[in-house]
């Protein structure tokens, strides 16, 4: 029996029970489809997070409170009280050529008559707009005077603006209320685009002093953003900041620093490790459905072997060897999973298209996930087809022929 015969016998057998073959394939289709879609979501999230981080600003260095442990952003962020305005001022005055913007960022419920939304409220200084590369679409950004006078003014992000006031409504001059305090909107930024999980247009920016004293009632800052003059001076400036803050915080051992100084590359790699974990999690949940699909294949193949016992007996009687029977049933299982794998890839593509079109999440179907899907479906075919095929090939021909 050569391979074209094998293929023919196999397709013939599968087509003579279309409904069952179809339902069995469905399990694999859903499994492979969801693995591909999940990996596409993860990959898309990763890409968009990286893109967002790049667009935060160039030559950016961020100082965060919390211990400096191999660039893990979240380490010790709960104790986010170690950085102060004075630290920011010291960096600005002691290190030459840098722009510095401290901020205190918290989420608040923001209210306008008849509407409200939960958004992040960034209390910061005028330098922020330049360091974080925001452009003002209309109105103006907060000024030093407003910071000094604890003015109740706010610059609004386009997403927040449309959430609160609706699309196409000019928010300038409108009043929003945060924690019972009214803020006058003085400007709106140009959209940076939102992608996936990170919406960069959903915020309110207010003077840092206002945020500290009127809203939060604290005097620390959550992060300090620093812009280095150029790429080459980044490492040097990072080191200077570290030394300066260690000295100011009276810490002699850099290992026990109560802050971390990171550049964009650090942030990107940290975010990547987070999204990787997330991707693996999604994919393994989808993988479970693939295993269930595989069990479906095995179930069908076992039923088929039982149903076709007489046929197997006959094939053996007319000269089929163990290997022929084994191959035939294995081929049926593999063909099922391959058909399922192929349709699953198509489904995965469609799903990720749907997700990015209707849910606004960026997705990317990678070649890797397609190869993975094909590999996995072949392996599932072999693994779950092996036992039924073995069983078929070991049947005694005469007992098989007598089987009712």
């Amino acid at each position: 029996m050569d391979y074209s015969d094998l293929l023919q016998e196999t397709t013939f057998a599968l087509l003579s029970n279309k409904v069952r073959s179809g339902l069995t394939i469905l399990g694999i289709v859903i499994g492979i489809g969801s693995v591909i879609a999940m990996i596409a979501i993860g990959q898309g999230a990763q890409n968009s997070i990286q893109a967002s981080i790049q667009s935060i600003g160039s030559n950016l260095i961020v100082v965060m409170p919390g211990s400096q442990r191999s660039g893990v952003v979240s380490a010790g962020r709960g104790s986010a009280t170690t950085l102060t305005q004075a630290d920011a001022d010291a960096i600005a005055s002691d290190i030459s050529g840098v722009a510095v913007a401290p901020d205190i960022t918290k989420r608040y419920q923001v209210i306008v008559p008849g509407q409200n939304t939960n958004t992040q409220v960034i209390g910061t200084t005028p330098e922020y707009v330049q360091i974080r590369k925001y452009d003002i679409a209309e109105g103006s950004f907060i000024t030093s005077d407003q910071v000094r006078s604890m003015a109740r003014v706010a610059v609004i992000g386009p997403t927040t603006a449309s959430d609160l006031f609706g699309d196409g409504v000019d928010p300038i001059g409108k009043i929003v209320r945060i924690n019972g305090i009214d803020f006058n909107i003085i400007g709106i930024t140009v959209s940076k685009g939102s992608s996936g999980f990170l919406n960069q247009d959903d915020f309110l920016i207010i003077p840092i002093t206002t945020a500290q004293h009127l809203l939060a009632g604290v005097d620390y800052v959550s992060t300090i953003s620093i812009q280095a003059p150029d790429q080459n001076s980044m490492a040097d400036i990072q080191q200077q900041i570290t030394d300066l803050l260690l000295a100011r915080h009276r810490i002699s051992n850099p290992q026990s620093a109560d802050f971390s100084v990171m550049n964009q590359a650090d942030i990107v790699s940290t975010a990547s490790s987070v999204t990787n974990t997330f991707t693996i999690l999604l994919a393994s949940v989808a993988g479970i459905s693939l295993i269930v699909g595989g069990i479906g294949i095995m179930n069908m193949m076992l039923t088929t072997v039982t149903e076709r016992t007489r046929e197997i007996g006959l094939r053996k009687a007319i000269g089929a060897k163990k290997r022929d029977i084994n191959l035939q049933f294995l081929a049926e299982a593999i063909l099922l999973t391959f058909a399922g794998g192929f349709l699953g890839i198509v489904l995965g593509f469609l799903l990720s298209l749907l997700i990015s079109n209707f849910m606004g999440m960026a997705t990317q179907v990678s070649l890797f996930s397609i190869l993975l899907a094909f590999g996995v479906s072949a392996i599932i075919g072999i693994v779950f087809g092996y036992y039924p095929a073995q069983r078929a090939s070991k049947l005694n021909p005469i007992e098989a022929l007598r089987y009712e």
């Binding site: 003579s16 046929e311 006959l314 094939r315 000269g319 060897k321």
Partner: protein
Amino acid sequence: MIEIKNITKSYYPGGVEAKVLKGISFTIKDGEFVAIMGPSGSGKSTIMHILGALDSPSSGEYFLDGKDVSKFSDDELADIRKNKIGFVFQAFNLLPRATVVRNVSLPLIYAGIPKKEREERAIKALRSAGFDESRFYNLSNQLSGGQMQRVAIARALVNSPSLILADEPTGNLDTKTGDIVLGTFQRLNAEGKTVVLITHEPYVAEHAERIIHIKDGSVLEDKKNENKRVIKL
């Protein structure tokens, strides 16, 4: 050449021994036309399965062309069945959802014959079994018992085996078509093939050169058929 010596076969339905064959010995030379005759349940099909290397005896020896069949591996047995033997089963054993031609060409797949030749040979075999030309591509579960019988015969012939084992090949046929089938076997025998015909009907057995009479698992009588009926096709 078939030589069986003191073959026994026992089954153990429900744990109790049932002796189906109780020491059968005979020799069939190449080119012979032998009928194995006996009442229902006497063990004829069991003998055929053993002769066809499909089943193994509980004790006794079986030499096929001088070689001890019990020494063969499963794959070697499969090769013997593929190359030397054509079976016509009592229960036909056709693939129900496959066409007539496909059923008949099935043994050729395992013999590694190219696709085009398979179909030609299947059609030739169907013709020589007297199968209705207009039904070559019908599904085999849409045939009458007699038609299935002829498909089963064609399938046994398709690989031009040297030994044909036919279990009640005329059981479902009327006398006229039965005679055609018996004539076919006589013709094949004249062409040099060994034919072993299993039947419970004396009329059918009389078409053979020699009749082995089985009863209750033993050979009752084994003699040359003096007045052989010859069918002229």
